[in-house]
């Protein structure tokens, strides 16, 4: 295992010429811009207008397009990831906040926070394929690796809704703690993590072969000298080997490192203020955090599990996506 990891690292090191340098795109919720960061040099290379109140951000699977939930424009804005030129927008339904793109890149599943809906949008034809009624204040969106299930969390109903991508019907509902914000499957699809901001927990579900969830545990957090009320789980990412879960803990200014198998909390990494969302660089060497109240992103070295630098971005950063 170790050898394989070593080989992989050196292969990456060889391949990583300047032309292949990755980029991180950070939405600045208040600044209405996207900051582009070079993930090799960690320099800010550009900042461009992203629409009004940009929050959720993702990339097409081939990395050529950047999709942004422009919440106050009630649409998904699309940008060329090379030129930053704006491409035709996608219909999103009202107040899009977070979304998830399927591995084929064809369908985008968008949470409409103000309308109790999940909107399914075709990225080619730019049409709405379906509107799925869910609980009150839909927010987090996760997708099973086989793309058969979309999980939506509703913040006031306090549930994770499991929507089949075949017929857009809800097949399962699981009650979780207060204000569920984010849903993240493991790469092998056997587990799902749902963060609850006000509940202060991460609900862990085992996923059966047919997609049926079973709530098995709730992870809670504790940091000496930090008021427990400030430990508010928001964004979450799990490494593709399924070993580590990273959880952004909002106003406690920390990212929790969790053993994704034993579910033990191993460490807390101090990052910028009011940490919202997370994304790995494609090689999973680094984890980036958006820090809404310090206007920066923190770079975490995933192997060392420590923060290595912070980079000033725009006004009130919220979401982040990286591409190769």
């Amino acid at each position: 295992m170790k050898l394989k990891a070593l080989l992989l690292t050196s292969a990456l090191a060889l391949a990583a010429g300047p032309a292949l340098a990755g980029k991180a795109f950070v939405t600045n919720e208040r600044g209405n811009t996207i900051t582009v960061v070079d993930t090799e040099t960690w320099e800010v290379i550009d900042e461009f207008f992203a629409g009004n109140r940009p929050r959720g951000i993702t990339a097409s699977p081939d990395g050529t397009k950047i999709y942004v939930c422009a919440s106050d424009d009630n649409l998904v804005r699309v940008f060329d990831s090379e030129t930053y030129e704006e491409l035709p927008s996608l219909p999103s339904g009202p107040d899009p906040e977070l979304f998830i793109i399927e591995p084929s890149g064809k369908r985008l599943y968008i949470a409409n926070e103000d309308d109790n809906l999940v909107t399914v949008t075709d990225t080619d034809s730019r049409t709405v394929l379906a509107e799925v009624p869910v609980g009150v204040e839909p927010e987090g969106m996760g997708m099973s690796p086989d793309a058969k299930w979309v999980v939506n969390t509703s913040e006031t109903t306090n549930m994770a809704h499991f929507i089949s991508t075949e017929d857009y019907e809800i097949k399962h509902n699981v009650l979780v703690d207060q204000r569920p914000r984010y849903a993240q499957y493991t790469a092998d699809g056997t587990r799902l993590f749902v963060t609850s901001e006000i509940g202060g927990t991460v609900s862990v579900m085992d996923i059966a072969e047919d997609g049926t969830p079973t709530l098995v545990e709730k992870i809670s957090f504790e940091v000496p000298n930090v008021q427990p009320e400030w430990l508010q789980p928001v964004g979450a990412k799990v490494t593709s080997d399924g070993k580590r879960l990273f959880v952004a803990l909002g106003p406690s200014n920390r990212v929790a490192v969790v053993d994704a198998q034993s579910l033990e909390v191993l460490d807390y990494i101090l990052v910028g203020q009011r940490v919202w969302q997370l994304d790995f660089t494609p090689d999973e060497k680094y984890l980036l955090t958006t820090n809404g109240n310090s206007n920066d992103i923190t770079v975490i070295d995933v192997a060392k599990e420590e923060a290595v630098r912070s980079i000033q971005v725009g006004d009130q950063p919220w979401g982040v996506v990286t591409i190769e």
Partner: protein, 401 residues
């Protein structure tokens, strides 16, 4: 909106059916509750922006029913809240009707003496009562009742919220101007207590006598502009003017009619509120739009207090699978209970007197200026307990804790 909700409901019912089969949830619970609002003969408010709407508090109940039914529809639970208003002398009969209807979960929007009397009557029938209006201290302290919880903030919570902000600003020298009616005097007491608690110094106090009279006059502001500054003359050095005017007859005029230019807080200027229609942080935009879709107006404290009381009931039903008043109360007072109140932190109940712990918004009539507790005010158990009566000072014995 209604259509959409109906669709959601239908879809949800379908899902709930599946859920009951797959997850084996307990049997359906039909939760019936009531809001009883006592309407008093009062003077008009100073500003017509503060006129009480006819559905005051009731609109909060409607939203709570809608929110509770969303989770409920997935769980097989239904919620219905009866809404009644009554003049003070008809309040007891109205409560009896509610009790005769079999309802044992009741939110009361009334003054302290009425809440206490009605809560005692409700206790005879085993009902649980939520106080959604009165801020008085006695009912949370030596006069507390075992079947009475409070979602309305106490005067002490309100005053402490203001005091923490003033101290954070390093404005410790206060002038306290209070009204002459009993509620104003009670509120002024809370500010004196807050000053002592957080190290502010009340350099002078003045009472603005309520001499009655109409709230509206054709002559308008001219006399106010001449008279109020002279009332505020010759004060010692101070940083801020704190007003205690629960009656609402003078404080709103004071903001710009001072002698020395100072910020005004308390009953005017920067006010402690539970929720206001301009508040958008912590996801509250969605609360606002849902409320406005239903009520066609902005949310008021009374609506929020009723809404969160019924949401707390819903949470107990969802998590503890009970609508029995004792079961609900036990769950709400347990450390299992927490509820998202769009204030950035969970709300819970104090198990020593039934008061809801909550953040207090500091509101200037347009925006959320700040939210208390303020940064740096710490507590060994819960920061929200830096606001209001804490366990060691509680004289309430009706709760076992």
């Amino acid at each position: 909106m209604l259509n959409r909700f109906a669709t959601l409901f239908a879809a949800a019912l379908l899902c709930a059916a599946t859920l009951i089969f797959t997850a084996g949830f307990a049997a359906a619970i039909d939760v019936r509750s009531a809001v009883l609002r006592v309407d008093y003969q009062v003077q008009r408010p100073i500003s017509r922006f503060d006129e009480a709407p006819e559905d005051l508090g009731f609109a909060g109940a409607a939203l709570a029913d809608q929110d509770n039914n969303s989770t409920g529809s997935f769980m097989g639970h239904t919620y219905e809240t009866v809404r009644k208003s009554a003049a003070p002398d008809a309040a007891d009969a109205a409560l009896d009707e509610i009790l005769a209807d079999g309802i044992r979960l009741i939110v009361i929007h009334a003054r302290e003496e009425d809440v206490l009397r009605l809560a005692d009557r409700a206790a005879e029938e085993g009902a649980l009562v939520f106080n959604a209006r009165a801020g008085d201290m006695a009912m949370r302290n030596e006069e507390c009742r075992a079947n009475l919880l409070h979602t309305a903030t106490s005067y002490a919570q309100q005053a402490d919220a203001i005091a923490q902000f003033a101290i954070w600003k390093k404005w410790p020298r206060w002038v306290l101007i209070s009204g002459s009616n009993p509620d104003d005097i009670a509120l002024a007491d809370a500010y004196r207590r807050a000053a002592t608690k957080f190290g502010a110094n009340i350099v002078e106090e003045r009472v603005f006598e309520d001499t009655g009279g109409a709230r509206r006059t054709d002559s308008g502001h001219v006399l106010v502009q001449r008279q109020l500054p002279t009332f505020m003359q010759n004060l010692p050095e101070h940083d801020v003017v704190i007003t205690a005017d629960e009656t609402d007859y003078f404080a709103a005029y004071l903001t710009y009619h001072l002698w020395d230019p100072r910020p005004v807080m308390g009953s005017a200027g920067l006010r402690p509120v539970q929720m206001h229609g301009g508040h958008e942080a912590y996801g509250a935009t969605q609360l606002q739009t849902r409320f406005e879709d239903l009520a066609g107006r902005y949310i008021k404290d009374a609506d929020y207090n009723v809404w969160i009381a019924l949401r707390a009931v819903g949470e107990a039903v969802t998590r503890a699978e009970t609508a029995d008043p004792d079961g609900v109360k036990d769950y709400l007072l347990s450390d299992q209970f927490e509820l998202a109140g769009f204030k950035g932190q969970e709300v819970t109940f104090r198990d020593w007197n039934g008061q809801m712990r909550q953040q207090v918004m500091l509101y200037d009539n347009r925006v959320t200026v700040s939210v208390s507790p303020q940064e740096g005010f710490l507590h060994q158990n819960a920061v929200q307990d830096t606001l209001g009566l804490d366990r060691p000072e509680s004289a309430c014995t009706a709760f076992s804790n």
